[in-house]
């Protein structure tokens, strides 16, 4: 593999930005955001440069690496701080830095009134650096550093306005649920080291063949747990909705476009493990399918525009995970959907931010309505993203999502039918709830507060939205034209034999579009025709109630983990005080007690001492007698 000395700058530039902004403090308030944006952009152009270099090489020569220094080396456990840039990482590098830079630009305007804007940009830069480390690390442990780094950045950014207790709690929840997932990653590293003696991607890829399926399945399941945590997949999905507490650009960048897709990256990157561990792969598919429907169902009931989008994100990542779980045939489609999703979902989030910006930070869609006239640019960019996520041809989502549905059907047998149906159903529900969002926000009658003065956002905000909208329109075609992305990525994955086709592609597309149309139609009937209340109706079906409560995910966590945990904690605190420390004090007290009772013998009367001496002599003689016998 070729080596390069330039890779580290991809990470170092934004990292330096974060360090400078944090250390310089208020002094950098004036220029901090510009520096951060510039460094992020620099990183993006560096990425483009690396891409151009990569395009100039033959496909076998494309992956390049860089060894920075020996990080940890104990016995056979040798980890270099090394970077790896291959066809897969470059996609992510460009997505992260590209969308990242766009969102930096957006944030300049969005956060312009915030006193702590500099700190916000420092965190954003830190996030970019950590995310780049995640996708560039050449071993699981290096990836792990980035993995937790983005978790930290996410924590800091969700809790950016942590003076509000609810936001602080949301950030804590996100960090802790992520940590549960991270634990899976550390287990995976441990199992890998114990069974293969290495944790680098190349090393494990080479050793995977000699390793038992059981071990690989174990690693795969652990990686899946890690992915569910980071990508808000079932069963560790509960944090994503609350994570919307962060500023909207954060939701767009971290909780829609990049960080939450890290799980997809992890599974795709570990293709050599999952390909050899069918059980783990099956679990990946199941998790993807469940989350896909789970997120979509939540999305139908959410009135908070950001939470509706978050539920949608969850659902879309479910698609990606499902695709990644389908094996070599699905990896490319997972990545493709990831990239297109990065565009359209980030665009929609920025659109939501723009709406909130114009509506005094109101997030309840029931207080929106008829904003089309007041925010035309936002409406158009959002609408393009909407069409893309629906999968309407020729928008981006059509290419990527149809591929996934098709591949799901082709998975073979009953599995294929189930997965195909699930993905189709998901597409229908997606159409329903996204149409609902559109209708509630942009059409119908206005249901604003009196104080609201909706207005279009400044150009610094709509320009990024526009760029992303262009991406939402074109990226699908560009990536799938002639299977461009699939060919680009194919050297990384094992070649696969074509499955038999259950349904011809055209039928799948037609089915999908039909379901989408049905979903749109239902939403129209329900919301556009009959109008919408400004207050959420309470006489709704149980299903809606449950969906509003995120399908009881928080209730479940509370009842199963939190409450018992709290009881256990307070019980243990009591135990420690009463039993363990009590035993210690008990020893002290019993010593005191023995002393106090023996003190009664020391009554000062010489005659009782004499009696004791006599008893002592008696005991002594008796003892000697007994022993002497």
């Amino acid at each position: 593999m070729m080596t390069s000395t330039g890779l580290v700058y991809l990470i170092a530039l934004p990292l330096a930005g974060a360090a400078i902004l944090l250390l310089a403090g208020r002094r950098s308030d004036k220029w901090g955001h510009l520096l951060a944006t510039g460094l992020s952009a620099a990183s993006f152009f560096l990425g483009l440069y690396q891409l151009s270099l990569m395009l100039g090489r033959s496909s076998a020569q494309r992956p390049i690496g860089q060894k920075l220094f020996e990080w940890i080396s104990v016995g056979t456990f040798k980890i270099d701080a090394g970077l790896l840039l291959d066809q897969l990482s470059i996609c992510f590098v460009l997505l992260i830095t590209g969308v990242g830079t766009i969102i930096h630009i957006y944030s300049i305007a969005y956060m312009s009134h915030d006193l702590d804007r500099r700190r916000f940009f420092a965190f954003l830069n830190f996030f970019i650096a950590a995310m780049l480390l995640l996708v560039l690390g050449d071993s699981y442990l290096n990836l792990y550093v980035g993995w937790e780094g983005v978790g930290l950045a996410s924590y800091l950014l969700i809790g950016f306005w942590n003076q509000k207790p609810a936001y602080a709690t949301a950030s804590k929840k996100a960090f802790i649920m992520n940590r549960v997932g991270d634990m899976g990653l550390s287990f995976a590293v441990m199992i890998a080291f114990a069974t293969m003696g290495t944790v680098s991607f190349s090393g494990i890829k080479a050793a995977a063949e000699q390793t038992s399926t059981a071990a690989l399945t174990g690693i795969g399941i652990m990686l899946l747990i890690a992915a569910t945590g980071k990508s808000a997949q079932f069963p560790l999905q509960a944090w994503l909705g609350d994570a919307m507490a962060g500023p909207t650009p954060v939701s767009a960048l971290i909780h829609a476009a990049t960080m939450v897709t890290a799980g997809v990256y992890l599974i795709t990157r570990s293709n050599f493990i999952f390909d050899a561990a069918p059980t783990a792969q099956l679990l990946v598919v199941i998790v993807g399918a469940i989350t896909l429907l789970f997120g979509a169902l939540i999305g139908t009931a959410k009135d908070d525009i950001k939470k509706a989008l978050a539920a949608s994100t969850m659902s879309q990542i479910g698609y990606m995970i499902l695709a990644a779980g389908l094996g070599p045939v699905g990896y490319a489609f997972a990545i493709m959907h990831l990239l297109t999703h990065g565009f359209f979902k980030a665009g929609m989030f920025l659109g939501a931010g723009s709406v909130m910006h114009g509506m005094n930070d109101e997030v309840n869609m029931r207080k929106y309505g008829a904003l089309r006239k007041f925010m035309p640019i936002t409406f158009i960019t959002f609408g393009l993203g909407y069409l893309a996520i629906l999968g309407v041809p020729p928008f981006a989502g059509f290419y990527s999502k149809d591929m996934i549905i098709e591949t799901a059907f082709n998975a073979g047998g009953i599995k294929g039918i189930i997965l195909g149906s699930v993905t189709l159903l998901g597409a229908g529900i997606t159409a329903f709830y996204m149409t609902r969002v559109m209708i509630l926000t942009f059409t119908g009658t206005s249901r604003w507060d009196e104080k609201a003065h909706p207005h279009e956002s400044p150009w610094l905000m709509w320009l990024p939205m526009a760029i992303l909208a262009v991406g939402s329109v074109t990226s699908g075609y560009l990536l799938s034209n002639g299977d461009a992305l699939a060919h680009w990525l194919s050297p990384l994955f094992e070649s696969h034999e074509e499955h038999h086709e259950l349904l011809p592609p055209i039928v799948v597309s037609a089915l999908a579009l039909t379901l989408v149309a049905i979903g749109v139609a239902i939403a129209f009937l329900k919301y556009s025709r009959s109008g919408v209340d400004a207050v959420a109706p309470s006489d709704v079906s149980i299903l809606t109630t449950i969906a509003r409560q995120d399908l009881m995910q928080d209730r479940f966590n509370e009842v199963v983990f939190m409450r018992p945990g709290q009881v256990l904690t307070s019980a243990l605190v009591k135990t420690d005080e009463v039993i363990i420390d009590g035993a210690v004090h008990g020893v002290a007290r019993s010593a005191l007690g023995v002393g106090a009772s023996l003190r009664g013998l020391q009554n000062g009367f010489v005659r009782s001492y004499a009696a004791l001496i006599l008893i002592g002599a008696l005991a002594l003689i008796a003892a000697i007698w007994v022993v002497a016998q």
Binding site: Q602, N603, G604, F605, V606, R607, S608, A610, A611, L614
Partner: protein
């Protein structure tokens, strides 16, 4: 006659002396009981001397007597002291340790 009878006598006298030390309150009587115990021991020494056929036991008994004499001298002086300050010869009155 069995020489051991002297030993039985000695043991009984010793026991009586011990009981006396415990139950009597007059310091002088207590002292006499202590003397009784010493004498009982002396009787044993003398008897053992006879049993073993050498005079070491008698010499020890002799020393015991001397030591007992010393003890009586000092002890009675102490009793006089106590009596002088407390106007009482009861050992129970000298129980300052309990307070």
């Amino acid at each position: 006659m069995d020489v051991a009878n002297y030993l039985y006598l000695s043991a009984l006298l010793f026991t009586i002396g011990a009981v006396g030390v415990i139950v009597r309150r007059n310091a002088i009587v207590v002292f006499m009981c202590i003397e009784l115990m010493l004498n009982a021991a002396n009787l044993s020494f003398v008897t053992f001397s006879r049993i073993n056929g050498d005079l070491n036991g008698q010499v020890i008994a002799f020393f015991t007597m001397v030591v007992a004499a010393c003890e009586v001298v000092v002890g009675l002086a102490i009793i006089v002291m106590i009596y002088r300050s407390r106007r009482s010869a009861s050992v129970d009155d000298a129980s300052l340790l309990s307070r």
